[in-house]
């Protein structure tokens, strides 16, 4: 069980949070203009990397805020956390 540094509350147990899948997948502004393939790309296709992955998490049993996490999926080490709308760290 890892520890997540919620950008609003600080370090808390993983059990207080819920994972929300890959981060930085923006909902298309004009879905109606998209082909089936383009819409399916947004709807279904997600990366499952062994290594550094950008993820969304929510502090369900805390402040209920969504934020982003950079996690190494091979060892669960969290490299960074940052708020929604902030740019992902480049390093």
């Amino acid at each position: 069980m890892f520890i997540i540094n919620c950008p609003y509350c600080g370090e808390r147990e993983q059990s207080e949070f819920k994972a929300g899948g890959e981060a930085h997948i923006v909902r298309p502004k004009q879905p109606t203009e998209l082909s089936d393939d383009q819409w399916a790309e947004y709807l279904f296709m997600r990366k499952n990397i062994k290594g550094i992955q950008f993820e969304r998490w929510v502090h369900t049993h805390g402040c209920r805020k969504w934020f982003n996490v950079v996690r190494d999926t091979s060892n669960d080490v969290i490299k960074a956390v940052y708020k929604m709308g902030e740019k992902p760290p480049t390093k």
Partner: protein, 1001 residues
Amino acid sequence: MTKNLRVKTSKFIDETYKISFKFNGTTYYGYKGDTLASALIANDIHLVGRSFKYHRPRGIMTAGSEEPNAIVQLHNNTSRTEPNVRATEIEIYEGLEASSQNCWPSVNFDVGGINNFLSPVLPAGFYYKTFMWPASFWEKYEYFIRKSAGLGKSPTEPDPDIYEHKYIHCDVLVIGAGISGIMAAKTAVKNGFKTLLVDEKSYLGGSTIYQNSENFKINNQNSNSWLEKEINEIKKLENLEIKTRTSVAAFHGYNFLLARENLTDHLPFDQKKNKTRHRLLKIRAKKVITATGSIERPLIFDNNDRPGIMLSSAIEKYANFFGVVCGKKNVLFTNNDSAYETAISLFQKGIDIEAIIDNREEIDSRLIKETEKNNIKIYKGYTVVNTSGYKRISKISIMQLSKDGQKVVGPKISIKCDCLGISGGWTPAVHLFTQSGGKLEFRDEDQVFIPKIYPSNQISIGSCSGDFTLDEILSNIPKKLIEFLDIKKTDYEDLEVYSSYNKSKRNIWLLPSDKVIGKTKPFVDYQNDATAKDIKLALREGFRSIEHVKRYTTTGMGTDQGKLGNMHALGIISETAGSKMGELGTTTFRPPYTPLTFGTIVGRNVGEYFDIFRKTPIHEWHEKNKAKFENVGQWKRAWYYPKEGENMHDAVQRESKAARDSAGILDASTLGKIDIQGTDASEFLNRVYTNAWSKLAIGKCRYGLMLNEDGMVYDDGVTTRLDENHYIMTTTTGGAATVLGKLEDYLQTEWPELDVYLTSVTDHYATVSVCGPNSKKIVSQVISDLDFSDESFPHMSFKNAKIGKIKCRVMRISFTGEHSYEINVQANYGKSVWEKCMEAGKKFNITPYGTETMHLLRAEKGFIIVGQDTDATMTPIDLQMDWIVSKKKYDFIGKRSLYRSDTIREDRKQLVGLLTENPDEILEEGAQIIADIKKSPIEMLGHVTSSYYSPNLKKSIALAVVKGGKSMMGQKLIIPMENKQINVTVSDPVFLDKENTRLNA
């Protein structure tokens, strides 16, 4: 009691405190401080159990948690019975009763022992190979396999003991209180770290504490005396918590560990009462120091499993710690120096050694010289090739090893013995380190895996890190601690250490025999009866991965998880397959390190505390009026209210009829309620519901359907506009939390520009729903100063009102198709409002109804229940609810998915009604629907989702999903049941009052 197997009084055993216990029905005596194993050996009992597959007699092999053989059943046939308890760990107490496992009728005469003679036809994978065919026989095979599977018996009665969980946070956790752990704990505490020290044993000091030898000295004192002083010192330290009888079961990432603290297993029954038996510690440590020591390796040779064959270090511990002699004729067999420590210890106690067999040819060390002084015959360059003695070892045969160690040469020599101590060197106990994600490296010189890459803030010290000699351990610990704890110094930089241990070792994983391997039984995994022969067979049959060989041969899969033999299995695989040990890797060590009881895992979460349950503010009334309850999510909802002599069907029929004929009352408090405020609230609803919301007038209600982005129905409910920028949304009972979560997700991540605030108010309001043709008369009586005329208060509208001084919100909305009102009040007034409605409704025979009647009434109207009639594969179009999907709105969640190539298919499963040919026949929910029984294979068209007998229509009705159902109106279909076929006709899903006239009745 046999006193003759006790030697000089040990200070760890209290000989003034005599304890009686039973083993296999016979009463024996031991002393306080004894384990079951030491007390049995003191009574000259070595035969403790039978092996799993061949039922071979097995004895006590070790003196610790690594024990594979001596596992017993405690307190058979009582509620406290426990299987697979290691005799080497359980401390005896007055009244302890233990019995052997896996034998019938008794450990001395075991019918299953026949398997031993059948063993040539029971190779690895025997079950896989034999019971494959004919396939139809599997059911018969299974019966016999089940009977012979498993060790011990699980209890059949509820566990009478108390268990609990506890969280501990500390700066430093030290696992293992041997010499390394003690030094680490003292150093950590003295440098200001809040420290927890745990050890699975009942005492501190590990193996050093009972090694009273001139050959190991620290600062000119025997190492045990030096350590004793250290222990006395740390006991006085503040900021240090010491927990003995506490074994770490799991080491997870981020230094999160689970440990079991054993509080009463060693106490007599009268002292166990009302006390917590085990405590599961959930430890979060900033730093972890693992000092778990090492486990002595056995040696692998023909018939190396007889009772009386023990680890050399165990014999030493029984003599030094428990004051117990393991045999009268002792022989030691080794490939390294540590057996000589045992020899010297035994001599000090006046116990004779017949001979020492050493694999090594040229050996020279202080310990060996010391041993030779005592005139012990040492066979250098020899190996044991076989043993005899059925229930206790009686003789060994030895031969000389060839130069390359691959063969045996020369004449065979027999030596009589009743105890054989074996030592194959040491394996660092790296289990916890690897559980935490640590990576090992293989050290060729002494063939051990040692920690290499630490995945978290942790370190391994002492022999679990591969330092085996006292001087190595003591010189490395200060260095490691200074770096790891980031401190200036320890108390231990200038210790004078004198250690006699010589590191030379002749490692041969499988010792050669004068027989071909097929005729030998060299056990690698004792508990599961896996031999070197089995491993070689697996390799011949093409298994290469260590994980596959493990499962095929079951090596390392017993309750001991192969703590003794795993390394040899790896060694044999690497030698046979010609691959390097380091490249082969190890199998994964999984938690728990030693087995945990279910009680420990569950803790206090038993009975009514198993899961949280939620009660509505009106719950007490339902209970008083004999409601039956149903679980809906965590809620307890009134299901139906049977009157005397009524069964469920009777009650539901009565309730349903009353609701349509006069008046019914339902506790709807469990419906999810979300308060939505903000200047963009209307726009937000527009985006999350399929229909349009901007034009909803203040004071009006609207039904909404919510989709997932994939177009599938997610939730539904009525939302009311309370004010310009204020709405109250209702959700399904089970969906309340996930709907709020989903809405928050969109608000925070996709549309942060919207000014909208969501608050869950489910628990803040009680909801009383009154329906039926007389509902208006009842509600207007309860709320007297409100205009209930259809003009002022029409269907799908809302009013703020007061009942006396109590503010309430009244919605005229309906889930039954009847004229009905929902009164929402602050939760603590819920029961009183309910009672007022009951009182007012008396003359109209107001009838409380539960969820079952609610479901029936809405089914008559063809209203869906999300999650019952839908299953995350249904679009609103599939549900024949096209009317609620806005064509005008540019976008809403799920809109684009409604015209994907898959969602526009016409043969999707669609919601329809079903009417049975025989109106009294009620369909089973979940029943399959077909069109043509003769077609092969039969095509399944769909299934029944809701089914009831309608007392108002006087016939059976059902909702179903059927492929292409929308275009099948009037068509005949078949429901095939076990013994019959039911003929049905596809109908409109709305069965009653299609014109909605009753809403305004």
